[in-house]
């Protein structure tokens, strides 16, 4: 333990994704014997154990972190998934569940001695129930496919993470995914009616029900955003909404980012509830414009996209008010999309912001903090100062309506030390978010990426409570170990304990 710590001290910026010894789940299962047992109920094509075959699973959307798993399994039925879990439970083998692998925080990063359980073959839409406005789907169904299947009934599924073409519903639930419309329609947790999960010992349990609530504790809420630590999601019932009659979008141009922030606050303060309220800073605007030619004003310090949807009459009333508020708060220009094509063009730049920024630099690192909106100007100034300090440029894309900030840090992984510097910069941004009354992750999850920053946001007692809740579902800690909730030794070594009322939260631990 001591030696390990010394090594970490010698390295100025320890990589977040290094497994912490306290979070390691040891087992002595024999791989060949384990495979033989799995092959009793799983076709050989659905078990991968050769490094080359497993390579596509070594990372998720957080590609900077890579670990080759012990095994990859792709069950096709609930019974097969149960079989896999029962074996893992029997032998004490860790399990990491994975959907499409589009997550941005390394939540589906494999564990080197663990099974990577892919739900990619659970792709059936089981039922679209137009009468009750719900969809029952398997976890591997892509987000967008739900809305496509519901469209003939005039319905859709509201949460729309930017990866919605690829990301799957199971992953959306595990991460409590949002999207650009969650200001009005909420996150996954608000659009979920029921779940079926497998516990680590393979038991199938139904949570939620046909109604809008269920008996006992709100377990669908607990499972949502639990990042694969509590159970494996095998079926999801989602709420569907009527497709809006009209959607209309304004693009407002600002000479100062603070004015843009104030305009957003004024819109919310006036009682309007836009479906989307997004902001981009100058670097993000220029990158997006160069990439997709959305007609963005490249000189603008900031632009705000404000979308209204619903009944045509309501939208017309809301748009008029929003336009007046934007102009009264310093917008130099407010454009209204005159056609559906024009509206899509407004959004094209915003939606392509990440890859657009990616063209400016060999690599970029997307952060995901949430702050109270009123602290925006201050936090952006702090980020700019950090950008100077670390010598790395940053572009800001912002779900302004709900205070969710996505700074994109530009770096070059081929330059020695730049990734570590970007990581440290990112960590500082998250700490700034916490210090401003916000959180280290708004919608991308903690995963492996923000595991150390959890030590900043939560006290030892709070982390212990999280571990106790985890143990209520998974007493041996086999599900996605080392993710989402840091161990107390990790936090002690990270040295960023959140001290409440002047008392160190776990004085019993050694400090280094």
């Amino acid at each position: 333990m001591y030696v390990l710590t010394m090594l970490q001290l010698l390295e100025p910026t320890p990589m977040n994704h290094s497994e912490h010894p306290a979070e390691h789940i040891a087992h002595s299962a024999d791989k060949a014997a384990f495979l033989r047992q799995i092959s009793q109920f799983l076709e050989s094509g659905n078990m991968l154990s050769e490094p080359e075959a497993m390579r596509p699973y070594e990372c998720d959307g957080m590609a900077a972190y890579q670990v080759l798993p012990w095994l990859v399994v792709l069950p096709e039925t609930i019974e097969q998934a149960q079989g896999v879990l029962q074996l893992c439970h029997q032998y004490g083998v860790p399990v990491v569940a994975r959907g499409a692998g589009t997550g941005l925080s390394g939540g589906a990063l494999p564990v080197a001695n663990g099974v990577l359980l892919s739900l990619a073959k659970f792709t059936r839409i089981l039922k679209i129930d137009p009468g009750n406005r719900s969809a029952c789907v398997q976890p591997g169904v892509p987000n967008l496919a739900v809305s496509e299947a519901a469209a003939p009934f005039g319905l859709y599924y509201a949460p729309d993470p930017s990866s919605q073409i690829a990301c799957t519903i199971g992953g959306n639930v595990a991460e409590n995914s949002g999207g650009v419309h969650c200001l009005k329609y909420g996150l996954t947790v608000h659009n979920l009616l029921a779940l079926k999960i497998l516990t680590i010992d393979g038991e199938l349990i139904s949570l939620g029900g046909a109604g809008l609530d269920s008996a006992g504790y709100d377990l669908p809420a607990v499972l949502t955003g639990s990042e694969g630590l509590l159970g494996v999601i095998v079926e999801v019932t989602l709420k569907l909404l009527p497709l809006p009659e009209t959607v209309s979008t304004l693009l407002a141009v600002f000479a100062g980012i603070e004015q843009a922030g104030e305009a957003v606050t004024a819109i919310i303060g006036a009682g309007l509830l836009p479906a989307g309220l997004e902001m981009m800073d100058n670097l993000a605007i220029r990158a997006a414009e160069a990439f997709v030619h959305a007609g963005y004003p490249v000189e603008a310090a900031a632009l705000v996209l404000c979308e209204m949807d619903g009944m045509a009459v309501q939208v017309a009333a809301d748009l008029a008010r929003a336009q007046a508020i934007l102009l009264a708060n310093g917008a130099t220009e407010v454009r209204q999309a005159q056609s559906e094509a024009g509206r899509k063009k407004f959004w094209a730049g915003r939606k392509a912001a990440f890859p657009a920024v990616g063209r400016l630099s060999p690599d970029y690192y997307c952060m995901d903090g949430t702050i109270p909106r009123k602290r925006l100007a201050e936090v952006l100034r702090g980020i700019a100062a950090l950008s100077e300090e670390f010598g790395l440029a940053v572009a800001n894309v912002f779900h302004a309506g709900d205070g969710n900030l996505h700074p994109l840090i530009l770096y070059d992984a081929n330059q020695p030390g730049e990734l570590a510097r970007a990581e440290e910069f990112g960590g500082k941004i998250l700490q700034l978010c916490v210090a401003s009354g916000g959180t280290i992750t708004g919608e991308h999850g903690v995963g492996m990426e923000k595991i150390n920053q959890m030590c900043v946001q939560f006290s030892g007692a709070e982390l212990r409570q999280f571990h106790a809740l985890k143990a209520a579902f998974d007493p041996r800690g086999l599900l996605n170990p080392g993710k989402a909730i840091p161990s107390l030794p990790r936090c002690a070594e990270f040295g960023a304990l959140h001290v409440h009322h002047g008392h160190a939260p776990h004085p019993g631990l050694d400090r280094f």
Partner: protein, 356 residues
């Protein structure tokens, strides 16, 4: 405008620590307005009304944070001053109903299907767990996925996991205008019609059926409501009558609820056909909530609700409250979760289910 109130968290913590040390269970009480709901809790009363007051309110951030003992009426007044509201339309069931009780019972009013439940607006809590530790989960921001969502777990847990101290909630703008329309029809037609409307682009904010007529409430811009009225027809209730009608639905003051017969709450899919149970019905939440007055045995009601994929609870009855029995797997998870938060079993023992 924001009164500082009283921070009694240290005092409450001392009580809880003493309860843990003496192994004396406590029964958490705000104003006592909802003690009828659920099973009777065992234990010494732990009064939390002294921990009260709005801590912060930022209308432009759409967030209010208040202590558990804050009167719901005070919170709604503070919000109304700034043209905002709690969108889930919480029932009071008593003039001094507290915010803590609203969250702990997890009950929502007529607007629930269209604007979300209590649990949907809970952003963060500060709580006392069964170790006597004061813990904070969630926060004051709309989007927060750091750690498990313990805040929402507290909604509807009936105080069995700990004492909720402070709560941060998302608030919503009050609609510019509201109108209630009335349509007379049969029960089957009513369920079909309410669900048909819910699938359309209408600014619905409530829909109920009292056995004779469907009443729907529309909320939004004046112009939007006028255009919907034209489209749907029906008769509009006078504004004051409409306001008191929905308050009476929420508070169960309608004639339907003035009865000694046990009142059951069935949570079902909104389009489910009326269950085959004898008794009188009142349908709220566009069909997703069915109130039933019946003398049928509890097992019969529970089995019927279960067969329809929903659940039932004996809401008001001389026999006391009773919740839908849990499946074996769920029951085990519930006990484990209870143990994780309250290992000494001191909080509201028996309030949710017998034995814990």
């Amino acid at each position: 405008m924001i009164e500082s109130g009283g921070d009694a968290s240290s005092l409450l913590r001392e009580h809880v620590l003493a309860a843990i040390a003496g192994k004396i269970p406590v029964n958490i009480i705000g104003s006592g307005s909802k003690t009828f709901y659920g099973r009777p809790a065992q234990g010494e009363p732990l009064e939390v009304a002294q921990h009260h007051g709005v801590i912060s309110y930022e209308p432009t951030e759409l967030v209010i944070t208040a202590r558990c003992g804050t009167r719901l009426a005070d919170i709604e007044a503070v919000l109304a001053d700034r043209g905002q509201m709690l969108a889930f339309e919480p029932p009071y069931f008593g003039p001094d109903a507290t915010l803590g009780g609203v969250v702990a019972t997890g009950l929502s009013g007529p607007r629930r299907p269209y604007a979300g439940a209590v649990r949907d607006v809970v952003l963060g809590v500060k709580m006392l767990n069964g170790h006597g530790e004061i813990l904070k989960f969630g926060g004051e921001v709309m989007k927060n996925v750091a750690g498990f969502d313990v805040s929402r777990l507290m909604a509807g847990a009936l105080g069995t996991l700990g004492v909720i101290l402070d709560i941060s909630m998302k608030v919503s703008p009050r609609p510019e205008a509201e109108t209630t329309l009335i349509f007379f029809m049969t029960p089957d037609a009513a369920l079909a019609q309410m669900n048909r409307w819910a699938g359309q682009n209408l600014p619905l904010s409530a829909a109920c059926f009292d056995g004779e007529a469907v009443r729907i409430r529309l909320s939004g811009a004046q112009t939007a409501i006028a255009s919907v009225r034209q489209k749907l027809g029906g008769d509009a209730l006078p504004d004051d009558e409409a306001g008191s009608f929905w308050a009476d639905v929420r508070e169960q003051r309608l004639g339907f609820f003035q009865d000694e017969t046990p009142l059951w709450r069935l949570s079902l899919s909104s389009a489910a056909a009326q269950p085959d149970l004898p008794g009188a019905w009142f349908i709220d939440w566009g069909g997703a909530l069915r109130w039933l007055k019946t003398g049928q045995p509890a097992e019969t009601v529970f089995q019927t609700a279960h067969a329809l994929g929903g659940h039932a609870c004996r809401f008001r009855s001389p026999m006391g409250g009773e919740f839908q029995p849990l499946s074996v797997g769920l029951e085990k998870l519930h006990r484990n979760i209870k143990q994780a938060f309250d290992p000494h079993g001191i909080f509201n023992a028996g309030r949710l289910y017998k034995g814990w």
